[in-house]
């Protein structure tokens, strides 16, 4: 009794409830904890749910369980030393994190990676986007009750991780890129292996789709669940597939091209309803678009150096910049202040998962408890990035 008092008074202090004020011991209203240890929260996320029976009246996220102080660490490491740390934020998309960080520091130094390095970067980043979406699909489907996709996606994701491992020796925390380019030249047979993966993977997406796209249970569980309008999504700063599923055709790779994305021909898939099903379709389509980009990049990869003219000791001039990329989960930005020394004076990471998670409350109000699980899955958060 006492315990529930504490939790409820804490949660009630800020939840704006649409329901009129009810007596405290109303048997219809219940406050429960979901997490921090819960298989469907994809990490240590605690959600305080205010329920009326099965219906969700409001939520509050309690985060920070995985907070490691990445931004503080950055101020105490050199630019080069901090590079591997960014892999540990969104550990499902370490390559994207590295790309964003390296490009941000390059921008601060006012240098650019050579063309060949740009191509290698794009290939690996897009492979990582596919891997990240595969992991999302497998776990999201598992949360909703479809177990098979998990095994299929993990089986196929393995092929991407093998390419990473052969390229840089690591599967997840890749540290694939360096400031100014890439450290490693591609291994013998890299292009062939990537091309083989593309032809291997094309039928596999169809396979995932036969399992889910017209599956009646899947449709029931995802259609009109967790709807967020385009206006709400923009106001809440939501980016990535979640924003696009609400009908906003915005992708940083097109809007403000970085790396050499302007050289490639691809579409931005968008949805119309902004529900869980549309987000599913958008991500499936994105995997196909990533394959298109990879194919063009592998075929067009030029010869040449892979490291730009970057001094051994990186000391960017005094100044501050913000650089962001389209990570698999949304806009991943780095704001760096340099004081002219070898260490960043201030480094801020703009994490897509953190900002997108804020939309959870808007998306689950009025839904059932079981849908909360579906919505957490569909936002596609990684707690390592939410908490940093």
């Amino acid at each position: 009794m006492n315990d529930s008092n504490v939790v409820s008074s804490r949660a009630a202090s800020h939840l704006e409830l649409e329901t009129p004020e009810k007596p405290y011991l109303d048997s219809n209203e219940l406050i429960i904890n979901m997490g921090p240890q819960h298989p469907a929260t994809h990490g240590v996320l605690r959600v305080i749910l205010k329920l009326d029976g099965e219906k969700v009246l409001g939520t509050e996220c309690v985060i920070g369980y995985l907070h490691r102080g990445v931004e503080k660490i950055a101020e105490n490491r050199t630019y080069t030393m901090f590079n591997p740390y960014v892999d540990r934020m969104d550990y499902c998309a370490a390559v994207s994190n590295g790309l964003g960080y390296c490009e941000a520091v390059e921008k601060l130094l006012n240098v650019e990676a050579p063309a060949r390095a740009q191509y290698i970067r794009v290939i690996l980043t897009e492979l990582n986007r596919i891997a990240s979406h595969q992991l999302w699909l497998g776990t999201h489907a598992l949360d909703i009750g479809a177990m098979t996709p998990l095994f299929y996606t993990f089986r196929d994701r393995e092929e991407i991780l093998k390419i990473f491992e052969r390229y840089c020796g690591a599967r997840l925390t890749t540290h694939a890129f360096r400031i100014g380019g890439c450290q490693y030249e591609t291994y013998a047979g890299f292009e062939k292996e990537v091309t083989n993966f593309l032809s291997f993977f094309a039928p596999k997406i169809d396979e995932y789709e036969t399992l889910l796209t017209t599956n009646r249970i899947w449709l029931e569980r995802t259609k009109n669940v967790g709807v967020i309008s385009a206006a709400d999504a923009i106001a809440l700063g939501v980016t990535g597939p979640v924003l696009r599923a609400s009908g906003v055709k915005w992708d940083l790779r097109k809007a403000q091209p970085y790396a050499n994305y302007s050289k490639f021909d691809f579409e931005i898939p968008i949805g119309t309803n902004g529900d869980t099903y549309d987000r599913y379709l958008v991500r499936m389509a994105e995997m196909r678009q990533s394959m298109r980009i990879i194919e063009q990049a592998v075929n067009g990869i030029p010869e040449g150096p892979i490291m730009g003219k970057v001094p051994k000791v990186i000391k960017p001039p005094v100044g501050e910049i913000y650089h962001s990329i389209e990570a698999p989960k949304g806009e991943l930005g780095y704001f760096i202040v340099s004081d002219g020394s070898t260490q960043p004076y201030r480094l801020r990471v703009r994490p897509p998962s953190f900002v997108n998670l804020q939309a959870l409350d808007v998306m689950v109000r009025g839904l059932l408890v079981a849908d909360v699980v579906a919505v957490i899955g569909t936002i596609d958060i990684v707690l390592g990035e939410v908490d940093r």
Binding site: S13, H14, I63, G64, H67, G69, E71, K72, I73, E75, N76, K107, L108, N110, V111, E112, D232, I234, A235, L236, G237, V238, V248, W250, A255, Q256, G308, K309, P311, K312, V313, K315, P316, P317, V318, G319, E320, I321, Y322, S324, E331, G333, F335, V337, S338, D339, G340, S341, Y345, R346, R348, R350, F354, V355, Q358, D387, R388
Partner: protein, 226 residues
């Protein structure tokens, strides 16, 4: 390597104070203005060649940013507003008193409808110790700008939750990490650290190994988290 050591030594290190002076001294130089127009492409070839001859010209510095947007607000706000651009990125440095209104104008009249990020930086040697920053983006303009202002330690600033809903968690994180309070925020409390934690870790006076020893001992039952 040798020239790298020399070049950053020329500008004075305190970052925020330097801006106005640097702008005046470097802006007339044509070399500083060229990278702004097309930042990425010309720089790699020119930089190494230019450095030994004239190291000072190679150091980029913020230059005044001119655009219809700036003209419009400069006449309105005068000296309270400074518009600069650095490596092709534009920002406003504004007086703290303009803050809620200027941000609202940017959203309502200039379509900066997406608040990308709110963050801060600590400069303990300055009189106004903190920079608070808003990174904004406009979908219609496809343009990104930053707005920054300076506030003193212990001072609070108006919340922008009423302008962009996303400011809620972002401002809470700034409070958590720097101790800057946002007036009018619906739920001004910590977000990443425990609520009863003492100290704000991203302040410069908070050491990298520092922690709330007492909290760790009471709540985790261990001597130290290190």
């Amino acid at each position: 390597m040798a020239e790298e050591v020399k070049t950053p030594a020329s500008p004075p290190p305190p970052e925020g104070e330097k801006k106005p002076t640097a702008e005046k001294s470097v802006s007339p130089a044509p070399t500083a203005a060229t990278p702004v127009a097309a930042p990425p492409s010309p720089s790699p070839p020119t930089k190494p060649a230019a450095k030994p001859a004239a190291p000072k010209a190679a150091v980029p510095a913020p230059v005044p940013w001119t655009s219809p947007l700036v003209e419009k607000y400069r006449s309105q706000y005068g000296s309270g507003l400074e518009a600069l651009t650095y490596l092709g990125q534009n920002y406003f440095s504004v007086d703290r008193s303009l803050i809620p209104n200027f941000l609202r104008l940017l959203r309502d009249e200039e379509q900066f409808d997406y608040c990308v990020d709110i963050t801060a930086a600590h400069y303990p040697k300055r009189e106004k110790q903190f920079d608070v920053l808003w990174i904004l983006y406009s979908f219609t303009r496809n343009e990104r700008i930053r707005v920054k202002t300076q506030i003193a330690d212990g001072a609070s600033i108006d919340s922008s939750v009423g302008i962009w809903a996303t400011a809620n968690w972002l401002e809470r994180e700034v409070y958590d990490m720097f101790g800057i309070k946002f007036d009018g925020h619906p739920d001004m409390k910590r977000i990443l650290l425990p609520e009863d934690w003492k100290g704000h870790p991203l302040r410069k006076d908070y050491g990298i190994l520092q922690q709330d020893q007492e909290w760790v001992q009471i709540n985790l039952g261990i001597e130290s988290g290190q």
